[in-house]
């Protein structure tokens, strides 16, 4: 678990990598420090999630990547 990422600071468009290896792009940030709204770009465990928007829990965010 990455405890150094303050998800309140993440802008829309930021790409995030989740603990399970999935990658997603932030589409909205309620800035509550707990949740992000993101669209899956890849999902090794469940390919059906790709393209789906879902709420991402802060503790699931492993790392961030620059937009684009």
């Amino acid at each position: 678990m990455n405890t150094s990422i303050n998800i309140r600071d993440l802008a829309v468009g930021t790409r995030i990598v989740l603990e399970n290896g999935a990658e997603a792009e932030i589409v909205d940030n309620p800035r509550d420090g707990v949740w992000l709204f993101a669209r899956y770009l890849s999902s090794p465990d469940d390919a059906a999630l790709v393209g789906i928007e879902e709420m991402i829990f802060a503790q699931d965010v492993a790392e961030t990547r620059s937009p684009g």
């Binding site: 309620p30 509550d32 707990v34 949740w35 709420m55 503790q59």
Partner: protein, 463 residues
């Protein structure tokens, strides 16, 4: 003193025949606890005003009885009132006074709710719950009934309660005196600034009783009158109508609402007001002129302090304000005061009234400070074991109220006492506590809707 929940409120504690009411109903912790269930969980309660949540995602954290609730507008524009408590472990999901949000997130374990109350975020939903939690069953608790009346938002936890309009009965016209525009247009009120909130060390019924129409306590505002905080620099208000109007107590007996009101004669001349501020005076002169052109009888009414059962006080004019007496304990009340103006009034008028309003009401308002001194020390002096033995008297004017009151063609609803000569009565307080006692005794709303039981008989009598 332990109380039986279903016996003893009348005549033991609230004796309307003699006008005696026990101090226990103000200071007894057991009675207070029962009030939360029997009064506040069943009554229509004022929650806020639509002008506080104009946009999707806007929210205002309010209270219903002791409980925190969220008034919000969802993304589709619908208004909701939710219990501010996470369904998982009860933590408040919103700890701000107001704002705009996409979700309400519990800081404890992270459960998250949409502005429509649906549970949308559950940490480790797939992993820990194995996707087996039925999210549709665990949304925020929503009130059983909600009503938006001319911008004011009212809510009720009891699905068996009558609709809000029926709950108001004939009292809506007095609430309209706040919510309609100064020129008589419907629903022009806009909240002015924020909500003033403060704590007072007394039972919530002390202010509720006072605003029911206690004109007997004017002596305690004598110093304010002498200072002249009024908008014309004299007294407390511009009430030239006192010279020409009938001053009345109006009580709606089967609802528990009551007020002071001034009933003007037909074709009455306008009274001077705002005499130290020509621009403001001209604005109100024009508004009053327009108001008289509109159909209906409300142009003959000048609003004054009143109370909608159980804990919403209205003051339609000078200052134009609603106050909620939120119970915190038997011995503490949280006051919330909302000030109103017409939304399209000139900014100079709003500025003038803001200064006058806070000079009069709120924790720093001179008149409110007088009142608080009385309520707080009356409560403290009624808590002792000796003091509790001695009831208060509410016998003033007992038996002198009339029904079907009429003055120059204006028929007033409810039970009426003409104060023009009498100066004061305690009919409004008897009405308040009579209804309070009914709530404390009744097992359900079936017993409280006395007007529905009486309706067939009245219909028969009319035939």
């Amino acid at each position: 003193m332990a109380m039986n929940a279903t016996q003893g409120y009348r005549p033991g504690l609230v004796d309307l025949n003699t006008g005696q009411i026990s101090r226990e109903i103000f200071v007894n912790d057991d009675i207070y606890a029962q009030e939360q269930e029997r009064v506040f969980a069943r009554s229509w309660l004022f929650v806020g005003h639509e002008s506080q949540i104009p946009n999707p995602g806007d929210f205002f954290v309010s209270r219903m009885g002791e409980e925190s609730v969220i008034l919000c507008r969802d993304r589709a524009g619908a208004v909701h009132v939710f219990l501010n408590s996470c369904r998982h472990r009860g933590m408040k999901v919103c700890r701000y006074d107001d704002g705009n949000t996409a979700v309400f997130t519990c800081p404890y374990h992270g459960w998250s709710y949409g502005t429509d109350g649906q549970l949308v975020g559950v940490p480790y939903f797939r992993e820990a719950y194995h996707s087996e939690l039925d999210k549709s069953r665990w949304g925020l608790v929503e009130v059983a009934q909600l009503c938006v009346y001319k911008g004011t938002v009212w809510a009720n936890w009891d699905p068996a309660a009558p609709p809000f309009h029926e709950y108001l009965g004939g009292f809506a016209r007095f609430l309209d005196l706040i919510l309609d525009g100064w020129d008589g247009r419907e629903g022009q009120a806009e909240l002015l600034g924020g909500v003033q909130k403060w704590l007072i060390p007394c039972n919530w019924k002390f202010p509720a009783e006072n605003f029911s129409g206690d004109s007997y306590h004017n002596i305690s505002h004598r110093s304010v009158d002498l200072v002249g905080v009024g908008p014309s620099g004299k007294s407390r208000r511009d009430y030239g109508e006192l010279n020409v109007a009938r001053k009345l107590h109006v009580a709606i007996p089967d609802r528990g609402h009551q007020t002071i009101t001034y009933l003007l004669p037909k074709d009455h001349p306008q009274q001077p007001a705002y005499q130290n501020a020509p621009e403001i005076a001209e604005y109100f002169r024009h508004c009053e002129e327009e108001r008289r052109k509109r159909p209906g009888e409300n142009a003959r009414l000048i609003g004054a302090p009143g109370e909608i059962f159980p804990n919403l006080a209205l003051l339609p004019r000078q200052p134009r304000t609603l106050a909620v007496w939120h119970p915190k304990s038997a011995h503490q009340t949280e006051v919330w005061r909302f000030f109103f103006v017409d939304r399209d009034a000139p900014q100079a008028v709003k500025n003038f009234l803001r200064d006058y309003y806070i000079r009069y009401s709120g924790p720093a308002g001179m008149t409110e400070q007088d009142d608080m001194e009385n309520w707080n020390y009356a409560h403290a002096a009624s808590r002792g074991v000796i003091a509790r033995r001695y009831p208060y008297t509410y016998e003033m004017g007992l038996g002198h109220a009339v029904e079907d009151y009429e003055f120059e063609g204006f028929r007033m609803p409810g039970r009426v006492v003409d104060l023009t000569r009498a100066q004061a009565s305690e009919e409004p307080m008897r009405n308040l506590y009579g209804r309070w006692a009914q709530f404390m005794e009744a097992e359900s709303w079936d017993e409280l809707m006395t007007w529905r039981r009486n309706a067939p008989r009245e219909a028969v009598a009319a035939k």
